[in-house]
Amino acid sequence: MIRNVLGLSATLLLMANSCVQYHYSPNFLQTPYHEQKGEAVVSASVTGGPTSLGGDFSASWSPVKNGTVMLNYYHTRSQFQDPNIFGGTSYIERSRGYLMEAAAGGYFPLFFGTGAVYAGGGIGRTRNDYGIERIADIRLNRFFVQPTFTFRNNWFRLGMGLRMVMVNFPKGNIDYRIEPDDIAVIQKLEQESPFVFPELGGNIGVHFKPVTVMAQLVLLPTQHSVDYGFDASNFGIGLSLDLHELGRNKKKPSTTED
């Protein structure tokens, strides 16, 4: 496992150096901490690396006993100035993408914490500029099933989970001036879609009623990151707010209604 993580970090470093174009980037694996009907939480995290900056937003609500619905939105963008050591024209590569999804699931007491299983789906889009406006604009949709385990007490939160995803790339609009190597990857996406793979993720946080300061991590532990230009991991820090702790008998938030 440690080996894997080290390997991944090495790949990540390499990728950070070589490109900014990802055809898929995993959003954080959300683990709602609900244990009671009526609880609602919103959260926001920032994520990024040497060349990228992203935001990950989530809202969850338990409208019924043992049931949760959640909405997630993830947006990322990156920019990279090609250093071009050969002295030719140097250009700027840009990339941006989003993923928007909804999920529902059930939770139940498990060991010393809470177990839950969620299923959901959503849509996304990446728009990669390979420099001088050579753009690959690709749409994706994603479905997932996600078992999680969470533990919370008055000041501490720990959540982790496995997310089985199926990513499908239904449509793309691609400038064929993009370098042949990069086109080859895009054509592989087209031919081999949909992709099914696991993602591992979790978060750890310190809770100061009603706010939690947290760190999030998600990993894509398969070859997909290398073979198909998928982002292999995401790390970020953020804040979440337990709306139900703001005051008793407050109205439920409307975040899940749209």
């Binding site: 019924v64 789906g121 499908n168 793309g172 064929y176 086109i183 996406l189």
Partner: protein, 394 residues
């Protein structure tokens, strides 16, 4: 129940979004560009792939083609076939470098503008595994193989400039060339794709031609197929890689020819048809050569009568042979090596026996075997590959 509405909404989304096949659209030229191009040229909607991938027997010994920039090669192809780039509008590179002849010419001296002709035999651009892996187009140093029979040009750019401005070939100035290119409407879209701007300059023209030529090569011959599946190489002098074992897919005749070739010819022309082992040599064509070859360029009398050693890929198609096209057929070439080598003072040592010129005295059967072997070096795909063909509408 009402509270479960979002759950149902979600479920229906999941069911409705079909896990359908991907359908990507690729675009290259704009509609307007396509219209202009279609008037003059027969180009595919998406450009050809000019990537060169070597067979394993060559990459295993560290020979790799350098990268070709596809969009520049696409432009280079049009320039290569464009007769407007010559003084009288009748000659293009392809006049003397014909695809069906592995980019050589079937005349000893090629026809240039105004019925002039060249002073040497056209070079078969397809006689190499790959142009960019073979020549020193952007390499420097001693391993960079130079251009022309007398090794006078160092880069593909130098070489192209030479052909365009040679009075016997295209007879233009580089200024004429850029003016002509700038005035043809079909070049604007091609320059736009290759360089991100429609401005025409000499260096862009030369770079584009170089990229097209650099993509050329033959590496899919019967010989390559067999070499890929063969073990048992040994390395001779100057890194000459030789396939000592018989090839299972060769006929007995071809294998005997390979043995003769390995023993008598590979020390110059190379055993794996990668790069020539020697860059230049005097192979004893004449005692008193009128064309001094490399010696005339370097002024070194030890190099008089020395010429570039060509590799022999597609050699069955590239006659007439030698720098002056003196031999019409391969039979004549083999007869020459068999009994005709002249004892020029600069004759290379591998063609000597003591102080005399070697006399191989090949039997009739041995000659047939050698020729059968040389036939295995032909790569038919290069000859038919559309991406190297004339793009102009007739």
């Amino acid at each position: 129940m009402k509270k479960l509405a979002p759950v149902f909404a979600l479920l229906s989304v999941i069911l409705l979004v079909p896990a359908c096949k991907s359908d990507f659209t690729y675009y290259y030229y704009t509609e307007e560009q396509t219209k202009v191009l279609n008037e003059y040229l027969d180009l595919p909607e998406l450009p050809h792939d000019y990537t060169v991938t070597f067979p394993s027997h060559l990459s295993n010994v560290g020979l790799f083609p350098r990268a070709v920039e596809r969009d520049k090669a696409v432009l280079g192809r049009v320039l290569f076939y464009d007769k407007k780039l010559s003084k009288d509008g009748t000659v293009s590179c392809a006049t003397c470098h014909k695809q069906d002849l592995a980019f050589s010419d079937d005349k000893a001296f090629s026809d240039g503008v105004y019925d002039r002709s060249t002073t040497r035999n056209s070079f078969a651009l397809g006689s190499v595994a790959n142009f960019s892996a073979y020549y020193g187009t952007d390499l420097n140093g001693s391993s960079a193989i130079r251009f022309f029979w007398d090794n006078r040009a160092e880069t593909a750019q130098d070489q192209s400039r030479g052909s365009m401005t040679n009075a016997n070939e295209m007879d233009m100035t580089m200024h004429d060339i850029t003016e002509t290119v700038a005035s043809q409407p079909y070049y604007a879209p091609l320059f736009d794709k290759a360089f991100g701007s429609t401005e025409v300059t000499e260096s862009k023209v030369l770079e584009a031609v170089a990229n097209f030529v650099n993509a050329m090569g033959s590496y899919q011959s019967k010989f390559d197929e067999q070499a890929n599946n063969s073990t048992g190489t040994f390395t001779g002098n100057f890194g000459n890689v030789v396939y000592g074992n018989a090839f299972s897919g060769f006929t007995a005749e071809e294998n005997r020819g390979k043995e003769l070739y390995n023993a008598n010819c590979s020390s110059c022309h190379s055993g794996n048809m990668g790069r020539p082992v020697l860059q230049l040599a005097n192979n004893g064509l004449e005692l008193n050569p009128t064309d001094r070859g490399v010696g005339a360029i370097t002024g070194n009398s030890n190099e008089n009568g020395s010429f570039k050693v060509p590799t022999l890929r597609n050699v069955t198609l590239t006659g007439p042979y030698m720098h002056d096209g003196r031999f019409k057929t391969l039979e004549e070439v083999i007869d020459f090596y068999s009994t005709g080598i002249q004892n020029h003072p600069n004759l290379h040592s591998s063609l000597r026996q003591g102080s005399n010129a070697k006399v191989f005295n090949f039997t009739h059967d041995q000659k047939q075997d050698l020729i059968a072997f040389l036939h295995t070096l032909t790569d038919d795909r290069l000859l038919e590959d559309k991406k190297f063909s004339d793009p102009f509408k007739q």
